[in-house]
Subunit: 221 residues, 2 copies
Amino acid sequence: MSKALIIDDEQQMRRLLRMVLESRGYEVCEAAEGQLGLQEAAFHRPDVVLLDLGLPGMNGIEVLKRLREWSDVPVLILSVRDQETIKVEALEIGADDYVTKPFGTAELLARLTVIQRRRFTRQSAEIVVGALKLDLLHHEASLDDAPLKLTPTEFALLKVLAEHAGRIVTQNQIMKQVWAGQSSDPSEGLRVHINHLRKKIGDAGPRIVNEPGIGYRLEEA
Amino acid sequence: MSKALIIDDEQQMRRLLRMVLESRGYEVCEAAEGQLGLQEAAFHRPDVVLLDLGLPGMNGIEVLKRLREWSDVPVLILSVRDQETIKVEALEIGADDYVTKPFGTAELLARLTVIQRRRFTRQSAEIVVGALKLDLLHHEASLDDAPLKLTPTEFALLKVLAEHAGRIVTQNQIMKQVWAGQSSDPSEGLRVHINHLRKKIGDAGPRIVNEPGIGYRLEEA
DNA sequence: CGCTGCTTTTACACTTTCTTAACGCCATGG
DNA sequence: CCATGGCGTTAAGAAAGTGTAAAAGCAGCG
């Protein structure tokens, strides 16, 4: 059974989350404040953390930063709308995804499933997302076992997205990983390559979804 | 006569191994340290490598990883007891077998025989791609049963491509396997040899297809 | 010493890929 | 309702990678 840790100051939100999670078989523990949350995480070693960004006392970002110093546990951010910059910051520090309050339970559970599955299938020589397959060793891509011809940049870009399939990758993260070394405009040429990728993938495989102002997400069809 | 390379920091162990191996007709070379071991391997091209995991300086695992970047030579791990996790890791990286110190000479020789025979049968001494045939044992190539005269470099290059026929071989992979240890130029002279090969193969056999920015692929006609 | 065969270097035309810039679209907010 | 910002799309020039030939190093060998 998976253990989940909720870090949120609103008791109502904690109760709601607990109900949803327990109905799905999670073992749940809670913390109403950042410092406590870190202690709980150290003690219970949860398999997933749900972290509210709008915490009193220690900032949610700060909690995440401290947590990441010693743990790779998947973290799902809970944020209210119009916290764009903070959300981006959280994702770049190492959050795995976020949901915007208010959210539906279906969406919440879907994202939870995704970020937990990802942790297992890390750093393999092959990345599979639905019909899409990336062979990192041979630099080959295929869609439904039909070869897919990609340029080096397209391959690198798709690789970054596929590694975090189902989760958001911020534009900055993409720029750093695909255009490492040479810094350029945050996103001028990126849109073009995204466009090429979408055309090549078509309707058969996963979709590349844009999260305005944040980044992109590769979503299994 | 088979050549064996011993990589171990203890001189006593090296002497023992050398005696055992030479009595079985092996030509033996030694290295006391990981980095030297890799150089020896690149230079002498041994038929089997005996690798101690407990090396000072470069880790035995690291040595194996580097070696596997350009060589498929059978590797026998020498480890002390209670290094289970490391042994498993070594096997996953591509070691062929291991013996636990202290070991008997009979066991050692038995395992050596096994892993060499396994290599031999696994990769048969002949690679066939369409009309093209490579005889690895005699270093001879033929096209439609007509002998094809290749220079040593051309043969090595074609061998790498043929081993992965139908799939992309990265320029880096080619450089590592054909020019192991030596020149690090990304691909200056590579193009020329590819050109020679294409001319010699002509239209009769498989085509060498370029994947711009990535590498080459040998495609059955 | 001057062959000879192999490898590497050099040079340049050519192809593919990348970047840049422009424009239209759609949502959001005044 | 129009202005704004971010995104999708397209086209063209810039940059990077490739094919090819010829010449320049580099061994071994008579």
